[in-house]
Symmetry: C2
Subunit: 213 residues, 2 copies
């Protein structure tokens, strides 16, 4: 199939969007969320302020898109390195029938993502601002976090049907036993966030969700 | 026993410290950590800058002390209301021999503390800054968080000796199954933080730490 011929204006528009994303992420990393402005992003990206306002209603909206774009690129990069994990993560949590193995795969990938030096600074800046700004925090959760948490609910429901998780467990609460410890350690930097830690958390948590003898 | 007679200068000094703590907490709540300055704290507390520098080496040090003072006062307040929980929390996690009940008591008290409107704003401000500022975050963890986590390690070790937690479990990791989900839900405001949630987390987690049949 022949590729659709992209007109010059569409290519220019893609280049501008990418430049705006990069500028927004660089600024939030360097000066924090509050001191990042639409003006600053425009200046750094080499576009007019009106270009940004044409595409996004607010600074928060630019940053959300920039962040989604960055996370997507990072996943693609990992994928082109020969790893199948990022594709799996995009499609959902794998279901090989081995709940422990599937969750370890996904939590190890989450550890790698949280430790990724390119993602770390903007993720921290955005999360920190969401902690003090309830409105931004709610957007962050709704657009970025909830879709990921839904994948855990799906996998844990399948595990309930397979008899690996007991019927009375609430999957929406159970997933926090997996995600909560990782985020706590990463956000507060209490101790190093490693694959070994992710494995231990999965072993303890899945034991607590399993049917009781 | 007759109370020791406090000289006027000592009472004045206590009053100044309290005023400085209150000013620091009010400022960090209103304008965030970065825009809180020693000058601003001094002006609001009605003391000279040098008074602050005589007692504390940095803004972070003032805020840590202010925060410890506030948490202590909040615990006293809860205690005088007829609750024994805060005394128990200060002395450690109770050990009645019923691990699930003891942990539910402590996690419910933690839920109340996190939902306390007086503590919430400064705790969020300090935590958010620690997330982006690694040095401040390390101080926060070392002075405020680690002593609390140590109480869980002690209680979980006792549970291992009592046979309620299996020998192979690392208490320092296991406690994150309890604390991590609460902090995750509170920090990111994903869903309401309730006693029922704390209870469920304890039930799932303790099941995962128990000896395997």
């Amino acid at each position: 199939m022949a590729p659709t011929k992209a007109p010059d204006s569409s290519r220019r528009s893609d280049r501008s969007r990418r430049a705006i994303h990069d500028a927004a992420l660089a600024l939030v990393t360097e000066v924090g969320y509050r001191r990042t402005t639409i003006e600053g992003i425009a200046a750094r990206a080499g576009v007019g302020k009106q270009t940004i306002y044409r595409w996004w209603p607010s600074k928060a909206a630019v940053l959300m898109d920039a962040f989604l774009d960055l996370a997507g690129r990072s996943a693609e990069g990992a994928g082109s390195g020969g790893e199948a994990q990022s594709d799996e993560a995009a499609q959902g949590i794998p279901d090989t029938g081995d709940l422990v193995a599937d969750l370890k795969l996904v939590l190890r990938a989450t550890v790698d993502e949280l430790n990724d030096p390119v993602l770390e600074a903007p993720t921290r800046a955005l999360t920190a601002e969401g902690i003090v700004d309830a409105k931004l925090g709610a957007e962050f959760v709704h657009k970025l976090l909830d879709p990921q948490l839904a994948l855990y609910v799906t996998r844990l429901r399948a595990a309930q049907e397979a008899g690996d998780v007991r019927a009375g467990v609430d999957p929406r609460i159970a997933l926090e036993l997996l995600i909560g410890p990782l985020m706590h350690r990463w956000l507060l930097r209490t101790l190093p966030l490693t694959h070994a830690y992710a494995d231990e958390i999965v072993d303890y948590a899945v034991g607590g969700l399993a049917p009781r003898p």
